[in-house]
């Protein structure tokens, strides 16, 4: 494995180069000042300690207060390149088992104390081995880590058990806020309700369920940043409110995304006061039949469900009303390891001849002894976008092969419980990742005794083998071939029925500058480069 280093000099060069290529709006020199109002499309966050949480509702309002060790490059539309944040650079040993991170000098926490290597070590220890009274939903991302140690005040060393491409993405997860070691030691739950970060903004006030207000961190370690005087994040879980807020100038952006109809509405209403950015979204939406329950233990029935779905036309129609669009396999479409359109057409269920597919589906149902008008329930989440809309569409797709499906919508917590507990028969399911990384994308689908996120409840050792093999395969074409086999195996057994990938649309007030859409709403939320043109 080759040595990889990264420095801010390189970043500066890259930015200089990029500025020659990007559109004029970007080339404008940033202005300092102003407070950015934005909406967070949630009712509140559970706690401020992102290590313990799994929702963007923490990242959006709290992310700007913290530094990460490394992160997915800000303002990078691919979402798969990494850069240092608190780390100035990092190196990998030739055997790929030792990673050495060198910290940027002069980083201070908001309380004035310096950020040292020991703080980074304590942070990752907290994430890997949750102290008593805390939880860590992503601890399993770090199974390859043998030890993490500090060398002096500015160097952190991770020793791995085996080399893997899954390590850096795990370190760079946007949830891994850097905390202060002695605060963790004193009370690991302190961060649920308090903030002491080293990020571009400091917390000014928080009103539960209402808003989070941040002000500029004057001692931020990146010179000249942030541009904003502060931000004001308001929680608004109803989409109509978010839209109205942007339209009425009460908020400048919702960093999660809006469906296309909202885009059309807002553009019509705001004209040149609104700027639109779009990107594929690293989230995919599935229907998952429970492979352990009748009649879906019969692969023929599952395959019929899969064959009935017309993805190509669905994309055309649904992309006008729902936040889904891209037809793809299990790996983020367009990324180096994803299937191309022609490869995809070879996968069962992706044929462009939908009539033939549906004829096959009816045939399979007949063989399996499923009568015409067979009734079952589709479990779904009580959220419109995109769950209920795609659910309604799926029901119509299945109606075409003679199935009579009722949508059973449940509150999110009930929905998850049924999904995890294997109580659902057929359910909507989704996979949302931050960093574009195929190993993370497909980890969900291995056998249910190895992946607790496998909601189809099947066991398939061949899938597990393919997964392991691709994870350790350094040669990209070979890795791609393994992933292709993996994808085909899922489709041939219809363990999961892929619908469409999400499509991210950001509608922002034209005053908001210096923020580039990425494929994930978990990324690019520290806001140090954002500025207001006013």
């Amino acid at each position: 494995m080759r040595m990889r280093t990264f420095s801010f000099a390189a970043l500066a060069a890259a930015v200089a180069l990029a500025s020659l290529l990007v559109p004029a709006a970007w080339a404008q020199s940033p202005k300092r000042g102003g407070v950015l109002p934005f909406v967070v499309p949630a009712s509140d966050f559970p706690s401020m300690d992102a290590h313990q949480e799994t929702t963007f509702a923490v990242i959006h309002p709290v992310g700007p207060f913290y530094s990460l060790l490394i992160r997915v490059k800000t303002n990078d539309p691919t979402g798969n390149a990494l850069e240092g944040d608190a780390a100035e650079s990092w190196t990998v040993s030739p055997d790929g088992k030792t990673y050495t991170f060198k910290l940027h000098p002069g980083i201070n926490f908001h309380d004035g104390s310096p950020l040292l290597a020991s703080d980074v070590v304590a942070t990752y220890q907290k994430i890997m081995h949750a102290p008593k009274g805390t939880i860590s939903p992503r601890s399993t991302y770090f199974l390859m880590v043998d030890a993490v140690t500090a060398q002096g005040d500015d160097t952190v060393v991770f020793k791995l058990k085996f080399p893997t491409s899954a390590f850096l993405p795990a370190v760079a997860a946007p949830y891994n806020f850097l905390y202060k070691a002695d605060q963790i030691a004193k009370d690991p739950t302190w961060f649920k309700t308090h903030i002491n970060g080293s990020g571009p903004f400091r917390m000014k006030s928080y009103t539960p369920g209402a808003s989070m207000v941040g002000v500029r961190n004057e001692n931020y370690f990146k010179p000249g940043r942030p541009y904003l005087d502060g931000f004001e994040a308001t929680f608004a879980d109803k989409e109509s409110v978010q839209v109205a807020a942007i339209r009425g100038g009460r908020a400048y952006v919702n960093f999660r995304g809006f469906p296309p109809t909202v885009r059309d509405d807002l553009v019509r209403a705001m004209g040149s006061d609104a700027t639109v950015q779009e990107s594929s979204w690293n989230c995919s939406l599935f229907a998952v039949p429970n492979s352990k329950r009748k009649p879906f233990d019969d692969p023929r029935v599952r395959r019929a469900l899969n064959l009935a779905v017309d993805r190509w036309n669905g994309s055309k129609y649904l992309s006008r009303i729902a936040l889904v669009k891209t037809v793809g396999g299990l790996v983020f479409p367009g990324s180096p390891l994803a299937l191309s359109e022609s490869e995809l057409e070879q996968v069962e269920g992706y044929s462009k001849d939908i009539e033939a597919s549906r004829a096959k589906a009816r045939e399979l149902l007949r063989e399996a002894g499923i009568p015409n008008g067979y009734k079952f329930k589709l479990n779904n989440r009580s959220t419109d976008q995109p769950y209920k809309i795609v659910g309604t569409w799926l029901i119509d797709q299945w109606r075409q092969i003679g199935l009579d499906v009722e949508q059973q919508v449940m509150p999110t917590s009930t929905f998850y419980k049924a999904l995890r507990g294997g109580e659902s028969l057929v359910s909507m399911d989704f996979n949302c990742q931050s960093i574009v990384n195929p190993t993370l994308d497909i980890a969900k689908f291995i056998s249910s005794d190895k992946s607790s996120a496998n909601d189809g409840k099947y066991i398939d050792r061949e899938l597990d083998r393919l997964f392991e093999a691709q994870m350790r395969e350094p040669n990209q074409p070979k890795q791609k071939a393994l992933i292709k086999q993996f994808e085909q195996r899922i489709a041939d057994n219809a363990y999961y029925i892929n619908t469409l990938w999400w499509h991210r649309i950001i509608i922002q007030n034209a005053k908001l500058k210096g923020w580039q859409i990425t494929p994930s709403h978990y990324l690019n939320n520290q806001l140090e480069d954002v500025w207001l043109d006013q």
Partner: protein, 318 residues
């Protein structure tokens, strides 16, 4: 009288315990799990059964049901509403500014209702079965029939389309900035106040009609007292009793009943908190919210009854 007050207060206790028991059981019947929700989130994280068990233990969900109920009741007796399972903050902190907001909207809606209901209801009664009566009745029945949230949606739409303006989406306490506060809260107060006024108008109308049938008003009329004196001195005062009941009743409901309207206007009040707490199956928070709204309801009714006794010398409580 004092005996009556004490008895009423004592009677509140079994009612509140009953409410507590029902919501306690109902919540645990919801087939959701806050721990799974929290750990699983959107990111498709790999969550082991062991992690879930640890977290359940931390939240005390592994204890037998009766123990959980017992602990909760003991806490309440000590004035401790518990800690939200979702945010880890004390419930009292969660309620703090939300209660403020809901209370203010409820009070403002009451004001709207009273200002509309009493003149309109009286007018309708005085002109019973003539066109002013019909107009008022149609107006008030329309108020009952119009969903407040729909009215809210139409209001916001109208503001946006006509004035390109949106009410603030963030709550500012009235003592900090009265203009910002009112420009946010006046609309939901109007939307709910209309419905509320409709109920009160109907009550005013029938109460005034009823009083008119009483002997002493007939006597007064027969004596040739001027109409407005009759109305002001006699009829209205007596008719106010049932109207107060209805206003008190509705007010008590508004504290916890603004659920849907708060969604429309993004008001960070008790109703919105309730919906999200039910969504996350946050037992402790939902239980506390229900108890608080039931308590408000019971207290308001009690106060209304006392007011009733105070206003109407004919009523004696034993």
């Amino acid at each position: 009288m004092y005996g009556y007050i004490i008895r009423r207060i004592l009677l509140m206790i079994p009612t509140l315990v009953g409410v507590a028991l029902i919501i306690f059981v109902l919540m645990r019947m919801i087939p959701g799990d806050i721990v799974v929700l929290r750990l699983r989130g959107e990111g498709g994280a790999q969550v082991t059964d062991e992690m879930i068990a640890t977290e359940r233990r931390r939240l005390g969900l592994d204890k037998p049901m009766w123990r959980q109920f017992n602990d909760w009741m003991l806490g309440i007796a000590k004035g401790d509403l518990g800690t939200s399972m979702w945010t880890g903050r004390p419930v009292i902190e969660e309620l703090d500014n939300r209660f403020q907001l809901s209370l203010q909207v409820a009070l403002m809606a009451t004001l709207v209702a009273v200002l509309l209901a009493i003149p309109l209801g009286t007018m309708a009664a005085l002109r019973q079965d003539r066109w002013p009566d019909y107009v008022v009745r149609v107006f008030s029945i329309a108020g009952i029939a119009t969903p407040a949230f729909w009215l809210g949606i139409l209001m916001i739409l109208a503001f946006l389309i006509v004035f390109k303006w949106m009410p603030p989406i963030k709550y500012t306490p009235i003592w900090v900035d009265p203009v910002a506060n009112l420009s946010q809260l006046i609309w939901p107060a109007l939307a709910t106040g209309y419905r509320y006024s409709a109920v009160a108008t109907r009550m005013t109308r029938s109460a005034v009609l009823e009083v008119f049938r009483e002997d002493y008003i007939r006597t007064a009329r027969a004596k040739g007292l001027m109409e407005h004196i009759i109305i002001n001195r006699h009829a209205l005062k007596n008719a106010m009793l049932p109207v107060i009941t209805v206003i008190g009743f509705e007010f008590a409901f508004l504290i916890g009943g603004l659920v849907v309207t708060e969604q429309v206007f993004n008001l960070n009040g008790l109703g919105k908190l309730f919906v999200s707490a039910v969504g996350t199956t946050d037992y402790v928070l939902v239980q506390a919210l229900v108890l608080v709204s039931a308590f408000t309801f019971i207290i308001t009714n009690f106060v209304v009854d006392l007011l009733y006794a105070w206003l109407d010398p004919r009523i004696h409580y034993r």
